[in-house]
């Protein structure tokens, strides 16, 4: 059991690295401009939305002890419960695919543009599949170690970038109106779909999840704002011309003899990607095992299957930028956030409510 247990701080370290990878690999697109001072304020909306979105999940966890061992035993024969579990798995499969595709684009655009990255990516997915067997405990504990490395390296890069910040690179706040700001902020906020996993793993976290979640939201928002401050301050409108603005900003960082800090940062970002992908594969296997007992017995085989599926689709998507555009489209991104964070918890509340009423009725 120790294998699958984590403290809240360990788990939220994992979640922090996971969302941090989203901002590192943030892709500039025409829908939302990065090169605006408004970008620095969007994370505040992200924090508010994350906290509000957590409320139904809190209710689920407190009132119904959702996805706890007892509930899983109790509802093991309910078809609805099985469908919901599978839906969670499917959504996070897409999320893993988007993450891997984004990293593929990053690797093939910035790291080794003239090399075929297929083997590297397949290797990365194999590593993630293997690491997912170590369970939530192992991954969360490792995340606390990585967190220190990531924060130190990112902080160091930020310090070296400070001299490159130019006041004229900023733009007036709410230049395009508050409505646009609200829309852009909403789009920005859907980066953190991982918060939907909390009800799925809460039974394995021992401690005060709510307090740590609140802290995580605030710290993530502050970190995003700081990173975006450097992106906007150093790049200005140039940020909107770059596929990966955060990487473009980091590539300006240098310290004395060290002129290529982007290489160091890239290695750090790969750590974050590995943590995120591993976590998603773990969640996919876990949710499917809730519904299918056979999967529970052959977790390793199933995670290998998931790895093969992700790698196969990735190879298909990778060779064509149009397919990639579909995978990274706003509709898919919104779906991947809304389904596990809003829709499925709402359905679960309804299902549990009906189940409770039925149970009470039978008792009476």
């Amino acid at each position: 059991m120790l294998k699958d247990r984590a403290t809240p701080s360990q788990f939220f370290s994992l979640l922090y690295l996971s969302v941090l990878s989203s901002i590192f690999m943030y892709i500039a697109d025409r829908r939302v401009s990065v090169a605006q001072t408004d970008s620095l304020l969007r994370p505040l909306v992200f924090a508010v939305i994350s906290i509000v979105a957590f409320l139904p999940m809190c209710y689920l966890m407190n009132k119904y002890k959702v996805f706890s061992q007892e509930q899983r035993n109790e509802l093991s024969k309910s078809k609805m419960f099985k469908i919901i579990s599978v839906l969670y798995g499917v959504v996070y499969f897409f999320d893993a695919l988007i993450t891997a595709a984004r990293f593929d684009l990053f690797a093939s655009s910035e790291l080794f543009p003239d090399k075929d990255m297929t083997f590297f990516l397949v290797g990365l997915i194999i590593v993630c599949c293997f690491l997912s067997h170590l369970g939530l405990g192992g991954l969360s504990r490792a995340s606390t170690v990585f967190l220190m490395i990531v924060v130190l390296a990112t902080g160091f890069a930020a310090l070296t970038l400070f001299q490159e910040v130019d006041f004229l690179n900023f733009t007036p706040v709410f230049e395009n109106g508050v409505t646009d700001f609200a829309k852009d902020s909403l789009y920005f906020s859907i980066q953190a779909s991982e918060i939907g996993t909390i009800p799925l793993v809460v039974s394995n976290i021992k401690g005060n999840v709510k307090k740590n979640y609140f802290l995580w939201s605030i710290l993530s928002a502050v970190s995003f704002s700081v990173i975006l401050f450097f992106v906007v301050g150093t790049l200005g409108e140039f940020a909107d011309t770059q596929l990966f603005p955060t990487y473009a900003a980091i590539s300006l960082a240098e310290f004395g003899l060290f002129e290529r800090l982007d290489a160091l940062e890239t290695a750090i970002w790969i750590l974050c990607i590995v943590v995120k992908l591993t976590f998603f594969i773990y969640i996919i296997v876990r949710t499917f095992s809730f519904s299918f007992k056979k999967i529970n017995k052959h977790r390793k085989l199933f995670s290998a299957f998931i790895g093969v599926a992700i790698a196969s689709i990735l190879v298909f998507v990778s060779s064509n930028i149009v397919r990639f555009s579909f995978v990274s489209s706003a509709a898919v991104a919104i779906g991947v956030y809304v389904v596990p964070v809003i829709i499925l918890p709402a359905i679960l509340i309804g299902v549990n409510f009906i189940y409770d009423r039925r149970k009470n009725y039978e008792k009476n």
Partner: protein, 390 residues
């Protein structure tokens, strides 16, 4: 604990693979690379000519190229319909793969600057290998090829000298620093023009020298407008608030001259609209050290010298800044100092009403300059005015 170790080992292996796998070109030997030091771009008859200076690796044995095996660098030229095509054609001449990541400077030839600058630099923005921090300069009164092929001396990297000149010029507040990223930022802004340092080749006996020769001024549409000379370009650092170090020579009350080393300089602006005319109140705060003084015996005491010195520095800077500003306002004018962007940040509503007509508004802007000088040190020597006082 064992699990943490396993996870850590796996991830650190991945970390090492990424960090220690050489730079940009895995699987390519160093001798098989054309390590770019400088790229010159010329344009004539709808064809680009690129001239590159590359490191001459003794082991490479690349055929062709001008230069003996003793030279540190080799120079190649190639033609193409686009910059990218011309650069890729270099491979046909050298047989090696180009590596742009170490390129120091991009030189734009006299004829290339007559094209839309945005088209010329697009390759450097888009290419995977190219760094956005490489410097840009203009070859004044010559082609980029002539500049890169200049006979400076037998052994040395010419583009390294060029890069150092541009960097030092910026550090001494003589010229602006223009990297690819700066050029893009200026040209994306609807009202901002761009000032790119110009470099000329000067004959010096048998050899030739590079020298900084003012700046090339571009309009907001990316089109070349005119040159400004070195003396005029010196006020740009104050107008752009990019004063770092440098020196300034001031005449002190017609009684003598003094040269100061600048420690720190900041510029702030206040924008006022008065009867439809924009007025920019510019306040420069300067901290500097006295480095040399002539005619100190003409002053009665230390206080008088210091006051005269402060006044002299202020007047000298005001003159310099006003001269630069008037020159930029003169037809063809260009807002290379981003006054439009400053207005956008300070008064968005007013900016929105004026932005479309900024080309006509910029020449009408009134500038008022005040300088607050602090003399931080007077060097290792005291003022020798004591005997005069007694």
């Amino acid at each position: 604990m064992r699990k943490i170790k396993i996870v850590t080992v796996f991830l650190l292996c991945l970390f090492c693979v990424t960090l220690f796998s050489s730079c940009e070109k895995p699987g390519t030997e160093l001798s098989e690379l054309m390590i770019m030091q400088g790229i010159g771009i010329d344009f004539e008859n709808d064809i680009y000519t690129v001239t590159v200076e590359i490191l001459n690796n003794e082991q490479s044995g690349s055929p062709g190229g001008d230069g003996t095996s003793e030279n540190k660098t080799k120079i190649y030229s190639a033609k193409g319909e686009t910059v990218s095509e011309a650069l890729r054609k270099l491979t046909e001449k050298s047989g090696n793969e180009p590596l742009f990541a170490h390129n120091r400077v991009v030189v734009l030839g006299e004829k290339a600057i007559n094209r839309d600058l945005r088209d010329v630099i697009d390759f450097f923005e888009r290419d995977y290998d190219s760094r956005v921090s490489q410097l840009i300069c203009v070859a004044k009164n010559s082609s980029a090829e002539d500049l890169i092929r200049a006979e400076l001396f037998k052994d040395g990297v010419k583009c390294e000298i060029l890069e150092n000149m541009l960097e030092e010029g910026y550090n001494n507040s003589i010229i602006p620093r223009v990297r690819i990223i700066d050029a893009v930022n200026h040209l994306k802004d609807a009202t901002s023009g761009l000032c790119i340092p110009a470099v000329s080749v000067q004959k010096n006996g048998e050899n030739e020298n590079y020298f900084l020769d003012g700046c090339g001024v571009f309009g907001a549409d990316g089109k070349f407008l005119k040159y400004i000379d070195s003396a005029t370009a010196e006020g740009l650092a104050f107008l752009n608030d990019t004063v770092k170090k440098g020196y300034i020579t001031a005449h002190i009350s017609d009684k003598g001259k003094a040269t100061f080393l600048i420690n720190k300089g900041t510029t702030s602006f206040e924008i006022i609209e008065d009867d439809g005319v924009l007025k920019y109140n510019m306040k420069i705060k300067l901290s500097c050290d006295l480095d040399e003084i002539e005619g100190q015996e003409n002053f009665k005491n230390d206080t008088e010298i210091l006051n005269a010195l402060q006044k002299g520095v202020g007047e000298s800077i005001c003159k310099k800044v006003e001269n630069t500003f008037v020159s930029l306002q003169n037809t063809p004018s260009s807002d290379v100092i981003r006054f439009g962007k400053r207005l956008r940040l300070e008064n968005l509503d007013l900016y929105n009403t004026l932005a479309d007509d900024w080309g006509n508004i910029f020449p009408e802007i009134k500038l008022s300059v005040t300088v607050e000088t602090t003399i931080r040190r007077i060097g290792e020597e005291t003022f020798n005015s004591q005997k005069e006082i007694s």
